[in-house]
């Protein structure tokens, strides 16, 4: 298949701010810039970064073998095509020729192999996503074979996280001393502030904790939209007052996604600023510890699920946000639209509570709900929960806790709170990924799962589903598993998160029209965004 | 002399006030008291006179036990006060009390008179009714009973000093050290305090170590007087003898410097000898006789050899080279006129 180059009127001449007369107060002459705020830190080493701001940077600095399509699938990118062996364990990729790294050298198969080995060898960042891939081999300069340990339905999409680095450049900047044996430090220190990619943008300046400034790579093999920004600046702040001032002064094009509803409302008031609510692969959960009283009793959990006021909760979010339909976000492939969904019904809640073995002395079992203090909006949900539960007599204690403590607490069953309010984002656009992340026993000691479900049947079934290469078959298995989880009520499924950004209306942002992939980071793929200074 | 209440023998106190250099750290010392000996008889007022920094207070503080001497010792009725290591036994503390120079700082401003008088009673007379005892003390020093609940700041300077005296009396001591008890007071108040002290001494058979730099006052209260200069005693004599026949040049200088009120007094002053020079710092005591830089009769020997105490009359001792050879004293009056020209 041909690379789905950014849909853009190819013949449109690059908007050149040739005449930038005095009347234009906004960024007149000089390069156009796309400025976005992010929560810091940003790691631009493809083997280290795996958070939102890092992903957003990496996709602009590096190229990958495949590219996500807006509908949740993938399309060829550096790899123009690929073959799969019959046992599903071996993939052979045919690379595009003539792709140049930022230093002018050509991207070849050995770079892909090196990048693969480097990611796996360091083991950090997105390495876990390629856990099933065992080895990579360069067949010739433009052909690479990757071998899997077991068949996986998710291998191809996971290649979205294999960023191809310039082997020679990295080797040249590798410190001999380091934890990776003959690979020294694998160039980690250098790559932290430099890029070795072939992507549409390259690093111009990198100021820790302050900003990352990237400039257009004019030699990129792909196509830029006509008014694609000359520079992209990722700024490290999420302070409401700061964002607001920057927005009002037209010193910021797109805000980060962490602004509160009220802050967004205020931003919306600013002339020329609009709010976008983009679909994500993230769901907001109340994760219930299923192994400590009183929440170890399923009736108790169901009582809570019936008593919670989902509508109000969803109403706290930006308009358009919807209650989650079951354990995975509706945006994922394989989401079961018919899964059982709780709604507020106090009668049912009381009935369930009555069946709970702690019903008689429920007041002696205060339920602690822990929310992450770094995300202040969570407090509202916790408080709402607290007052909802008060209505059916379940005492609730609301605790605000720093993220790190949350991580620490959820690592053991005893310290895991009754309820942890946590956002979880699916690594890949498939329901199975999310189900595995959330409920498989292997994640029980991580913050991804406060439930401690430890359900052997579920484990076996999800593993089986993920190994199913056929998509339809796979999805059918996901459907059943979603029903299975809904029955156990190990979590309250609050809402599917929308990424809310304030943006300047002079930015033409295809994501608004559903033309960009929801995979983390791709909304900020620079070549497709247009900044139109007036 | 069996009726000595206090005997001071070759007392020395050297304070370390710092160190020289960074690597060669040698102590810099102040020889505040440098070999002082005297004794106080039962029931007498022994006067100690000297200029500022001459070590009078240091002697007093050692006597009451605030400092340990560097060397030398003090006997109270024959018992060594410092025999028992660091902490002086309570019975000695009871026997020797002190009245400080500054009435402002010797009474704790945050405690009432009652509290202040209560402390020595509680320690030294624990079985007595302390409220009554305090009243008795107040009566003794002629203050009204409602002073009990006052704070020192509500009292005048003289009254404060009187309270300090009452406190000293509380433990029923036999020796009281009076460190310039009236130098912070007006003359008009001084009279009252001094008279009180004299009456108490008679009534209670107290002995006083009376420190002052006011020679006129000393003349009127002391039975015997010692003059100190830079940590050493330079002359000791009975009071009357002392003022009639001052021998040490420093004593004469002191006497001649006193401003007086009448011609009659003027005649007692060896008026032709005038003060010259500054008192040397006790850190850098000059070699030889410490007074030689200011002495009008200075001889070559004075600059190198420290004189020793010699007895020039009954109970009259002087530490001066002029008196080491018997015929010297006669020379004193004649030479004085030449000194006048020198200033």
């Amino acid at each position: 298949a041909a690379p789905a180059a950014p849909a853009a009127p190819a013949e449109a001449p690059a908007a050149q701010p040739t005449e930038a007369p005095a009347e234009a107060p906004a960024p007149a002459a000089g390069p156009t810039t796309l400025r976005v705020t992010f929560a810091w830190p940003t790691f631009i080493d493809p083997a280290v970064g795996n958070d939102f701001s890092s992903s957003s940077s990496l996709i602009n600095l590096y190229d990958t073998l495949v590219f996500p399509s807006p509908d949740g699938g993938i399309v060829p990118w550096l790899a123009e095509s690929w073959d799969v062996s019959d046992d599903g364990l071996s993939y052979t990729f045919h690379l595009k020729q003539g792709v140049k790294f930022h230093d002018g050298s050509e991207l070849t198969a050995s770079d892909v192999v090196y990048s693969f080995n480097r990611l796996k060898g360091i083991g950090e960042g997105f390495a876990y996503m390629l856990a099933d891939a065992e080895s990579a081999e360069a067949v010739d300069d433009y052909t690479v074979t990757i071998t899997l340990g077991k068949p996986s339905g998710l291998f191809l999409p996971s290649l979205l996280r294999l960023f191809i680095v310039n082997e020679d450049l990295v080797r040249a900047n590798t410190a001999a001393e380091g934890p990776y044996g003959e690979n020294g430090d694998y160039g980690k220190e250098w790559l932290l502030t430099h890029d070795a990619g072939s992507g549409p943008y390259k690093v111009k300046e990198f100021q820790l904790e302050e900003y990352l400034l990237m400039e257009k790579n004019e030699d990129w093999w792909g196509e830029f939209a006509p008014n694609a920004p000359d520079e992209i600046r990722f700024i490290g702040t999420t302070e409401a007052a700061t964002i607001r001032t920057l927005m009002a002064n037209r010193e910021l094009e797109i805000s980060d996604q962490w602004q509160t509803v009220q802050a967004l409302e205020a931003l919306d008031e600013i002339e020329g600023v609009d709010i976008a609510a983009l679909p994500t692969m993230t769901e907001f959960y109340f994760m219930i510890n299923t192994k400590i009283p009183p929440t170890d009793d399923v009736h108790c959990r169901r009582a809570m699920a019936w008593a919670f006021d989902y509508d109000t909760a969803v109403g706290l979010e930006w308009p358009g946000t919807r209650q989650s339909q079951g354990p995975v976000p509706a945006s994922l492939g394989g989401h079961n639209p018919d899964v059982f969904v709780f709604h507020r019904d106090l009668e049912k809640a009381k009935e369930e509570l009555a069946q709970c073995k702690y019903a008689d002395e429920i007041e002696n079992y205060p339920v602690e709900i822990h929310w992450v203090s770094e995300v202040p909006d969570e407090e509202k949900f916790a408080l709402l929960f607290q007052s909802n539960m008060a209505e059916i007599g379940i005492p609730v204690k609301v605790v605000s806790i720093p993220w790190l403590s949350m991580v620490e607490n959820t690592s053991s069953m005893e310290t895991s709170p009754h309820i942890a309010t946590i956002y979880v984002s699916s690594d890949l656009p498939e329901a199975g990924t999310m189900l595995f992340q959330r409920y498989h026993s292997s994640t029980a000691n991580q913050w991804l799962q406060n439930e401690w479900l430890l359900d052997e049947e579920f484990d076996a079934r999800i593993e089986d589903a993920l190994a199913t290469v056929d998509q339809e078959e796979r999805f059918a298995k996901y459907y059943e598993l979603q029903d299975y989880i809904a029955e156990l009520a190990p979590s309250l499924f609050i809402y599917d998160q929308a990424e809310k950004h304030a943006y300047q209306s002079y930015v033409d942002w295809p994501a608004l029209r559903g033309e960009m992939s929801a995979v983390m980071g791709y909304y900020f793929f620079g070549p497709q965004i247009q900044v139109n200074p007036h | 002399m069996s009726n000595d209440i206090l005997t001071v023998e070759n007392l020395k106190k050297h304070f370390v006030i710092g160190y020289t250099g960074l690597i060669h750290r040698e102590p810099i010392t102040v020889k505040a008291v440098d070999g002082v000996s005297f004794s106080i008889r039962e029931g007498e007022t022994f006067g100690l006179v000297g200029e500022s920094g001459s070590g009078k207070s240091t002697v007093a503080y050692i006597t009451v036990g605030m400092y340990r001497p560097t060397s030398g010792t003090i006997y109270l009725r024959g018992e060594d006060l410092f025999a028992q290591g660091d902490e002086r036994p309570l019975r000695f503390k009871k026997e020797i009390q002190i009245v400080y120079q500054d009435p402002g700082s010797s009474l704790n401003p945050r405690r009432t008179i009652k509290d202040i008088l209560d402390l020595p009673l509680r320690i030294h007379q624990p079985h007595k009714n302390r409220t009554l005892e305090i009243l008795r003390l107040l009566n003794e020093v002629e203050l009204p009973p409602d002073y009990m609940h006052k704070y020192p700041r509500q009292l005048s300077g003289g009254e404060k000093q009187i309270i300090a005296i009452a406190r000293a009396l509380a433990s029923d001591p036999s020796l009281i050290v009076l460190d310039e008890p009236t130098s912070a007071l007006d003359v008009s108040v001084q009279g009252k305090v001094i008279n009180l002290l004299i009456r108490l001494q008679q009534e209670l058979n107290l002995s006083y170590l009376f420190i002052t730099h006011d020679l006129s006052l000393m003349r009127n209260v002391a039975t015997r007087v010692a003059i100190m200069y830079l940590g050493k005693i330079c002359e000791v004599a009975d009071a009357a003898e002392f003022f009639q026949n001052p021998q040490h040049p420093y004593t004469q200088m002191l006497l001649s410097s006193i401003p007086v009120l009448s011609e009659e007094e003027e005649k007692l002053k060896p008026s032709k000898i005038h003060s010259i020079g500054e008192i040397p710092s006790p850190v850098n005591v000059p070699p030889g006789c410490s007074f030689h830089q200011r002495c009008p009769y200075v001889m070559d020997v004075c600059k190198v050899v420290d004189p020793v105490m010699v007895e020039t009359g009954p109970g009259h001792t002087v530490r001066c080279h002029l008196f080491e050879q018997p015929p010297a004293p006669a020379a004193v009056p004649e030479t004085s006129s030449t000194v006048e020209a020198a200033t």
Binding site: - | D186, R219, I258
Partner: protein
């Protein structure tokens, strides 16, 4: 001796506004210094000696202090009404002052030189044009005059580095550096040892005699005043109570306060220590009515409680503020006391 008054204070009233009320400290002070005269001022602590002198120079700290009445005539002009400029001319060159406590009077954070130089610079119009170097040369002179060794080095010393005697001398030097017509010496040397005090006083005496300056010498040691002054004022609680030539005053003190004071001084000739004056100086917040001394006065009469005695001539050139010597009031009592 000339009798032109150089300085004349008439009916001076000074109050201090403190929390809790007004301290009526000076209560109609009359005072005079003639040209070339050395005048003593004695009295107990807190009787207002320093306040009077500060009022003359208008250096009372003004928020608490307030001059509520009277005049201070210096060479006929009222200092209290002078404009800033005129006042500055009068200060220093006209009247200069040696402060009671030399330690407090020297700014601890400036070297002697740094304090002396501006004084000299403003001592005369010519000096104002001098360079720093020339000024420094001039600054050495007053230090030499007060017999300080190594004055060059002293200019760079801080007050803390000097002994008490040296500080006192520096103060004297500074006060004399402007060649004042009137020198106020507030208890010079009281904080010093007798022998050093004696030195300082003799030095002061010599210097003012050289310059023919008039002097006001304040002290509460009567002996010093007797030794140094031509005429003496006795002050009690903000009032002048007696004034006479020195010899006369010491031979025949009139006011009961003066007598009490003199009796209380221990004599070198022995004879015990008198009891002193009973009581203490009254509170200025609520000063006694009438004669301020009456609560302590052994000879107080009924009238003393209500009326303030005038400061008037009892004999020629001997003035006293006491009803005992007011022929109109107390002829009989006077007889009794002299007997």
């Amino acid at each position: 001796m000339s009798v032109t008054p150089l300085l004349e204070i008439k009916n001076l009233h000074v109050e201090f506004k403190v929390y809790g009320g007004v301290l009526k400290v000076l209560d109609g002070v009359d005072f005079r210094v003639n040209v070339g005269e050395k005048v003593g001022l004695v009295g107990e602590t807190g009787c207002g000696k320093t306040t009077t002198m500060k009022a003359i120079l208008r250096i009372l700290p003004v928020p608490p202090a307030r001059i509520t009445g009277g005049e201070v005539l210096f060479k006929g002009r009222d200092i209290l009404k002078m404009k800033e400029r005129e006042l500055r001319e009068t200060r220093g060159r006209g009247i200069s002052m040696i402060f009671q406590d030399p330690t407090a009077a020297l700014n601890p954070v400036f070297t002697i030189g740094a304090q002396l130089e501006p004084v000299i610079r403003h001592a005369s119009p010519e000096n104002r044009r001098l360079s720093k170097k020339e000024l420094r040369k001039l600054a050495v002179i007053p230090l030499k005059e007060v017999a300080l060794a190594d004055p060059e080095r002293l200019l760079d010393a801080y007050p803390i580095q000097l002994s008490g005697g040296m500080r006192q001398r520096v103060c004297i030097g500074m006060a004399l550096a402007t060649n004042p017509e009137l020198l106020i010496a507030d208890e010079p040397g009281t904080s010093l040892d007798v022998t050093i005090q004696d030195q300082v006083l003799r030095l002061l005496q010599r210097l003012v005699e050289q310059r023919h300056s008039s002097v006001i010498l304040i002290s509460h040691t009567l002996g010093i005043v007797r030794q140094m002054c031509d005429r003496v004022y006795v002050m009690y609680a903000g009032n002048m109570v007696e004034e006479a030539p020195t010899r006369k005053l010491f031979a025949n003190p009139l006011h009961p306060y003066t007598r009490g004071l003199m009796a209380a001084v221990p004599r070198l000739s022995g004879g015990g220590v008198a009891m002193g004056i009973p009581g203490r100086i009254p509170s200025y917040l609520h000063p006694p009515s009438g004669c301020r001394f009456h609560p302590r006065c052994p000879q107080a009469m009924e009238i003393c409680k209500h009326e303030k005695p005038a400061f008037q001539q009892a004999e020629d050139d001997h003035r006293v503020a006491c009803f005992l010597y007011d022929p109109a009031v107390a002829e009989p009592q006077k007889e009794a006391t002299t007997a």
